[in-house]
């Protein structure tokens, strides 16, 4: 794992952490939703500071270069996140539809009750 990649990992971790901390401070993201990014940036930091960890696993799985292993892990983690986000957005859309419908039907009924009286 080259020194450049380690520095980039540290920079990436720092930027991720600072950005997400800033959003939490301004209450733009909920604590619950920030945890993934905190853990993600800490993991990057650990990989950069202790390269022996990714080197060990890269050798164990037979990767030619440790950096390939690091990339694969990062891509996999982000893809899983993207997938779970898709599911989450889908669920939210269904709930939003349901709310909009119920609100609309209730408003209609209330208005009709009003005109009947």
């Amino acid at each position: 794992m080259s020194i450049t990649l380690r520095i980039l990992c540290i920079l990436g971790a720092a930027v991720t952490f600072l950005v997400i901390a800033g959003r939490v401070r301004k209450a733009r993201v909920r604590i619950d939703d920030s945890i993934f990014w905190i853990v993600f940036s800490l993991a990057l930091l650990v990989i950069a500071i202790f390269p022996d960890i990714p080197i060990f696993f890269a050798r164990l799985f037979g990767f030619q270069a440790t950096s390939n292993f690091v990339f694969l892990v990062v891509i996999t983690v982000l893809l899983m996140r993207e997938f779970s986000n898709t599911i989450k957005i889908s669920t939210l859309n269904s709930r939003l539809d349901e709310l909009v419908q119920e609100q609309a039907l209730q408003a209609m009924e209330e208005e009709e009750d009003g005109t009947q009286r």
């Binding site: 539809d97 909009v100 039907l105």
Partner: protein
């Protein structure tokens, strides 16, 4: 049979009043409900001023959501059937009674108003798309539909329940295919249609590509998991 015409309307200020008037004068026994899907034009004001029965979705939520609102209303108010009816004046109300007769006669779950059975030849890209969808439906569910993209469909009580409570049941051909494959009875009756009477159509290329890829992938791949 107590029928509700569900008229989803998004920015239909030019034709909504005319559509409702012709429906009411042609079929006085049929109730209707306009579902104003967060229109940004004067659709809502027109409905309020002219006393058109309507329900307002506070944000634009799409045809499926609007239609489902109508289905919930129909179910809660004890309707026996509901017909999907376009706000733009394409659909002719005089065919609704024939659709209801066909529903009673064949004990059908869905009755589709077919332009093709009425002798119309769907030409151009629309015809090609329609034939492709017909083919896919025949291959996957064994049901022959001449006009699957017709938006004028009558649903029975059982379907009201399904659509009101179901998730992701769009009032589109892929749902018809799914219902047919699950043993629902789908029949067609001949019906002519008009060109839209005002407002703008969404038949531009991006919409068509999205529509076709959605319908085709839904019929070909996804319906087996539902």
């Amino acid at each position: 049979m107590k029928i509700l015409a569900i008229i989803p309307a998004y920015n239909e200020q030019d034709c909504i009043e005319q559509t409702v008037r012709s429906l009411v004068s042609t079929c006085p026994n049929i109730d209707y409900l306009v579902v104003n899907d967060g229109s940004t034009d004067a659709t809502r004001e027109i409905c309020e001023q002219r006393g058109i029965r309507h329900v307002n979705l506070s944000i634009n939520s799409g045809l499926a959501c609007g239609f489902q609102t109508g289905m919930k209303y129909a179910l809660r108010h004890g309707y026996d059937a509901a017909v999907q009816f376009d706000a733009d004046g394409q659909h002719l109300p005089e065919y609704i009674p024939a659709m209801a007769d066909a529903m009673a006669e064949h004990n059908a779950d869905i009755v589709i108003a077919s332009r093709v059975l009425a002798g119309e030849n769907l030409t151009g890209a629309r015809g090609a798309g329609s034939r492709l969808i017909s083919l896919l439906i025949r291959l996957t569910s064994g049901v022959r539909l001449t006009d699957p993209t017709s938006g004028m469909r009558l649903y029975n009580r059982h379907m009201l329940d399904l659509f009101a409570h179901g998730r992701d049941l769009t009032p589109e051909p892929d749902t018809v295919a799914l219902i047919a494959r699950k043993g629902g009875k789908v029949v067609e009756v001949p019906a002519l249609m008009q060109e839209r009477q005002g407002g703008k159509s969404y038949l531009d290329l991006p919409h068509v590509v999205r529509y076709m890829s959605r319908i085709c992938s839904s019929i070909l791949f996804l319906q087996w998991f539902r």
